[in-house]
Symmetry: C2
Subunit: 212 residues, 2 copies
């Protein structure tokens, strides 16, 4: 997919009635969301400003109001956008994997890779707990549902144990979030492939002693 196609891809999040109708509009909306990620990530919600976002995006202040009603609205859109970006980044790797455990490995590797390029995602999702609790809850609830579905599909294919469910999905999600924090945000001291490999081996075999 060429750059033009990528930048003209669907982009959501504009306030009601303010959805862009042209490729150029979608590019501007994308630029505003990308700039908002940096602005909120660096300054936090309270100190972030709409003018800071438009300055970073290189667009006029009026362009902001073409797409969003308020700072709250762009923050809410950003949480959903980051959630969707993670989903879209990991999905192809998961689909291409030969089995359920390999899918979790590939997904985690892509996730840590994404986090290293977008460290601000943690501050943004975490601050949503306070600024926009509904978005915070929606992010983790939908992520957990997605993991539950793919674990159940893998179980149906016989790749993993038959009794997987919500507890396993939340365990996997928690593992991924914390490995992303430690090895993606805090310190890139180990290759993300190695972390994903070790985590996948843990998912496959658990902590029980291994036969010599």
């Amino acid at each position: 997919m060429g750059e033009g196609a990528a930048s003209e891809a669907k982009v959501e999040g504009a306030s009601a009635g303010k959805e862009p109708r042209t490729a150029r509009g979608r590019r501007t909306l994308r630029a505003i969301l990308d700039a908002a990620a940096i602005e909120f990530g660096e300054s936090g919600f309270h100190d972030a400003s709409i003018s800071g976002i438009t300055r970073r995006a290189g667009v006029a202040l009026g362009s902001f109001y073409t797409y969003f009603d308020s700072k709250d609205a762009v923050f809410r859109a950003l949480v959903r956008d980051m959630s969707a970006q993670v989903r879209d980044r990991v999905a192809p790797a998961i689909r291409a994997a030969p089995d359920g455990i390999a899918a979790e490995r590939a997904g985690l590797q892509e996730f840590i890779g994404f986090v290293r390029q977008h460290k601000e995602i943690y501050r943004i999702i975490d601050e949503a707990e306070f600024v926009d609790p509904d978005s915070f809850r929606l992010h983790y609830a939908t992520t957990a549902e997605r993991i539950t579905s793919r674990l159940r599909a893998a179980a149906a294919r016989g790749d993993i144990r038959a009794d997987v469910g919500e507890v396993h999905a939340w365990a996997v999600m928690g593992m991924n979030v914390f490995l992303g924090l430690r090895y993606g945000v805090w310190n890139e001291d180990r290759p993300h492939e190695a972390i994903a490999e070790e985590a996948a081996d843990f998912l496959r075999h658990g902590l029980a002693p291994r036969p010599g």
Copy 2:
């Protein structure tokens, strides 16, 4: 241990030079920290007030300044106090467990039990990421080190696989934090014993297909 002994137990967190010297002082400090947990948990850091804390604690405003220099100081003390409370709540259950997996199960069960009684712990630790990043980092870094140590001790006893390390510790911590969020804070729809049992079985066997 009687109530008197418990309330006279060591309590830390007072600002430098303001440590209580009497049992009565320690009880007042404990009351202020417990009230601060409710105040910060309900209102968030910015809207919380020192007078709100002393009102909830039933102590005079001057008593606050006997032990703390500022709202920042009591928040910082509270993060460390909640971290210590979790540690002290789960430690006896972990010590009493017959093996390494049973220890993780007992620890998670106690943790979810603690969370159900202190739902505010999530908001407080999570808000520390913004209000007091050093405390936030210290909380997870020391928790991960504690888990790494106990996994390695269990491995040395032959209870669990020999190659456990930091990745496993962060995986276990992430699992526990997210299961606590889902089944402790969000919804108590399932007994915490059942969650801990399912998580322990996952730790023991992983996700690989089980022999029929």
